[in-house]
Symmetry: C2
């Protein structure tokens, strides 16, 4: 995997063992996705989804992915159990567990579906935004490897450490262009990871960076594999906002559109924070 | 339980057996919550949450609940396995499975937390609405028992079968007052159920009622038990809207506030539909 894209290298999984319908995969954290403590949460979401997608019994494509971050993932080896718990005509439900030694570091559920032609409507249109190429790329404000995995360009809101950050104090909305760096064709795995790429909304209220970590993250895919493949590597217009910050936790809603205006995914998370 | 509130009667669980940290509960669907096929999805979410809350190892109160509806729940007996998979200083992660015979009908995860005083902000303020007592109660348009479990009063949007329904064609927003009938003190269980009380958003686009069923539902609790207890039985102002309807599935976002304006919960689901 020496020549693999850093995203695909982080998603490398080797079959470890099978037990009935459950397949256990062996993986390893990737230094290119290092965050404050352990890996960036989005790459953990993506590798859990990959463990289901690559299971020999997988049917259809992902509609919903929920990841519960039960404890810090340590840099190093991990195992993922992937088990289809119910397969119906149009949906397949997955149970996923990421372990390091005896400790459960994350649990997840995924729903795979067979899509079919129906009525179609978008009730959350893509907001206006200046074209990607007219905006400046984020200069990472912290020496975190994962920040260099995305080319991020602010449309509304600004980055911690920038002059614009103070100017947006208390404004919950962050709207950005996102693209993998180096560019990589969009797929469900990429969106599962990008859905976690927003810095914690509580920072815009506090006006400073504080410890924060995602507790639970749910992402819904509104585009199928063929539609994503047609977008090549993006970029994606993405936004996030909070609803309530209260007693040590807050939520954060996100939406991701193609440059052409297609709603690709919506995502929701709750986050632990200190102040 | 002859005198129990229908909500509490539906949540009656008897310990069946223990296996290590996993406790298995025995329950039964309640005719007062019958939907088109099997029980209303909200009551299934609530009984899964109850199975974790009543586990002897439960710590703290619920922050996040995700329920995956893997197959139709048949009227009759069911069992729920409840297992704490990781307990930390401030969070406890639960894995839950609802079975009927050998079939998994639903899986769920819950995160329980210990809350503490921190910075507080609400970024999603309660919309204006005429007082509850000035509006007409919904007359159920279908002989579904669960519709009588809630006193629902439309603030924006209207019910299938009403004149107002056609007038709101294509308007994704439904805003309603909700209260248990008979009234019951609000708690996390009540909100977990109310979060599913909106009729499918695709119906306002199609202008008609079609088969639809929730695939995955995630609810975040933004109020603690003490704050909910102070609200007595509500009512709650609640709204729902969709983001995208596409190839057999759509999403639906919801928010629930107290009459006084406190954001109590936000909730998100993806739904299967026919057209």
């Amino acid at each position: 995997m020496a020549d693999a894209h850093p995203f695909d290298a982080a998603l490398a999984l080797d079959p470890a063992r099978d037990s009935g319908a459950r397949r256990t995969w062996a993986g390893h954290t990737h230094p290119g996705w290092a965050n404050m403590v352990g890996p960036y949460g989005g790459i953990t979401a993506a590798v859990l989804l990959a463990a289901a997608q690559r299971h020999p019994a997988a049917q259809g494509e992902v509609l919903a992915l929920t990841v519960n971050y039960a404890g810090a993932v340590a840099d190093g080896a991990f195992e993922i159990d992937a088990e289809p718990v119910r397969t119906g005509g149009s949906t397949q439900h997955w149970s996923l567990v990421l372990r390091q030694g005896e400790a459960v570091a994350a649990t997840a559920s995924a729903v795979f579906v067979r899509r079919r032609e129906t009525f179609d409507a978008t009730d959350l249109p893509r907001p206006d935004a200046p074209p990607w190429h007219t905006l400046a790329r984020r200069e990472p404000d912290a020496p975190l490897a994962w920040l260099r995995r995305y080319d991020m360009r602010a449309v509304h809101g600004d980055w911690p450490g920038s002059a614009g950050f103070a100017a947006h104090r208390g404004d919950t909305l962050l709207r950005v262009w996102l693209q993998d760096d180096p560019p990589r064709p969009l797929d469900a795995l990429a969106l599962a990871s990008m859905a976690d790429a927003f810095y914690p909304r509580v920072w815009v209220h506090l006006g400073r960076v504080t410890p924060a970590s995602t507790v639970s993250l749910s992402t819904y895919l509104h585009a199928d594999a063929a539609a994503l493949a047609a977008l090549d590597s993006g970029p994606v217009l993405a936004e996030a906002r909070a609803a309530r910050i209260h007693r040590g936790f807050f939520d954060q809603d996100a939406a991701l559109w193609s440059a052409q205006g297609t709603l690709l995914a919506t995502s929701h998370q709750v986050v632990y924070f200190k102040d």
